[in-house]
């Protein structure tokens, strides 16, 4: 079973470092995960010797196979092959993972403007679509995580936006 960790297009050192910490890897191992893939963006892994500017790295630790890289054009295939997605609370990543029907744990990045990631994660957690947690509570959340308790995310309905734009640009819009 594979867990996919992503920080999106920015930088989130704390999440990346906690993802390869002993507590988190043990919690994952106990749940049956053996592989972890980490998209780390510009984050610092905090490992001795650093990453030497390398992009892709593969190593084993705490009984887990770790694969990590900086960026990819699309992480959709990584989301698709994952059993669990652990992510920063970026709206794009959240929408991608929820629309693929993947169980998701999000960790807001508190350094971003107005802490907007915090608002979004709390609201979606309260609605039952995912579990929101913090860097310090990640291991505990993983241990207690039950994917079957999550509510499926509704599919995108573009018709409202399409009607709004058609109307705004002066096209005839049928009333329904």
């Amino acid at each position: 079973m594979l867990v996919f960790v992503t920080v999106g297009s920015t930088r989130f050192d704390a999440l990346v470092q906690t993802a390869i910490s002993e507590q988190v890897l043990d919690a994952l191992h106990k749940k049956g995960y053996r592989r972890i893939a980490i998209q780390r963006g510009n984050s610092d892994l905090g490992m001795d010797g650093g990453d030497n500017g390398q992009d892709l790295m593969v190593f084993e630790t705490n009984g887990m196979e770790v694969e990590t890289w900086k960026f990819k054009t699309s992480i959709l295939s990584d989301i698709q092959r994952a059993t669990l997605v652990v992510s920063h609370a970026g709206s794009g990543t959240i929408l991608d993972a929820l629309r693929q029907g993947k169980p998701m744990i999000v960790v807001p990045n508190p350094t971003l403007l107005d802490d907007h990631q915090g608002e979004l994660s709390s609201r979606l957690d309260a609605l039952g679509y995912l579990k929101a947690t913090t860097v310090n509570n990640l291991a505990v959340t993983i241990s207690a995580f039950d994917p079957s308790s999550l509510i499926p995310f509704p599919p995108f309905d573009g018709s409202r936006f399409r009607r709004l734009i058609d109307q705004e640009m002066g096209y005839s819009v049928s009333s329904s």
Binding site: G8, S9, T10, F71, T73, S74, G90, S91, G92, T93, L95, D96, T111, L112, L113, D114, H116, Q117, E119, L120, S122, R123, F156, G158, S159, F161, R162, L164, I165, Q167, E168, M169, G170, Y171, S172
Partner: protein
């Protein structure tokens, strides 16, 4: 000496009257020119990085690409991910419209335009005015200068419709468009869609822009 006063006063009167007319019109916000179903409508969408690009792509995919054409993707300098996403979206949509039409291949109905960012992620707000002004100049070039010299449709705005969803760089773009309105040049209709990420508090861009755009949408109401 009297001439310079006369010219100056005339110019001032002109600008003031344009200013009040623009403000007045922005309160009225009606006047939609009717379009026939077969008419196309050019659009531009701003792809701020990260989640903004993802949401913008989702929004755009809801529209009819044969109607809203040609399309301009405005991306921030250095944001290769957004450029690639724009190209990927175009390929996906063109496969839907003309999957077996070989003649349609090579007909590009979109373009990519790059402008400097108004504010970089984690950049302190205090230094933002300087980067914002640089961005504003680039927007003026895109919105005002380039269309004036367009051979195909001189006198038309750079696009008919501009869609934005929240990144800070939208504000200088809107300011450039308002400048056009102030001097009487044709401008696109502007639609602002607040980002999905803003749940409780409207974004700073949203706060500034909702007074200016033709149509704004947010989940918060």
């Amino acid at each position: 000496m009297a001439w310079s006063h006369l010219i100056f006063d005339t110019l001032l009167c002109f600008l003031l009257s344009r200013f009040f007319l623009v403000i007045y019109r922005s309160f009225r916000r009606s006047e939609r020119p009717m379009r026939r179903d077969t008419e196309t409508c050019s659009l531009a969408i701003f792809l701020g990085s990260g989640g903004h690009t993802a949401e913008a792509s989702i929004l755009l995919s809801a529209l009819d690409f044969s109607r809203y054409s040609p399309r301009t993707y405005i991306v921030s300098e250095g944001d290769e991910l957004s450029s690639q996403k724009a190209v990927a979206l175009e390929h996906l949509e063109s496969a839907k419209i003309t999957p077996f039409d070989d003649a349609a291949e090579g007909r590009l109905n979109y373009r990519l335009m790059r402008i400097p960012r108004a504010r970089y992620v984690h950049q302190p707000l205090l230094s933002a005015p300087f980067t914002t002004f640089k961005c504003f100049l680039a927007c003026v070039r895109l919105v005002t200068v380039v269309p004036l010299f367009q051979k195909t449709a001189p006198g038309k705005p750079f696009v008919d419709l501009l869609i934005m969803n929240g990144p800070g760089t939208c504000v200088p773009l809107c300011a450039a468009i308002m400048l056009n309105r102030l001097v009487g040049l044709p401008t696109p209709r502007m639609v602002f869609v607040e980002t999905f990420a803003r749940v409780q508090t409207i974004s700073l861009s949203g706060r500034i822009l909702c007074r200016i755009v033709d149509r704004g949408r947010s989940r918060l109401r």
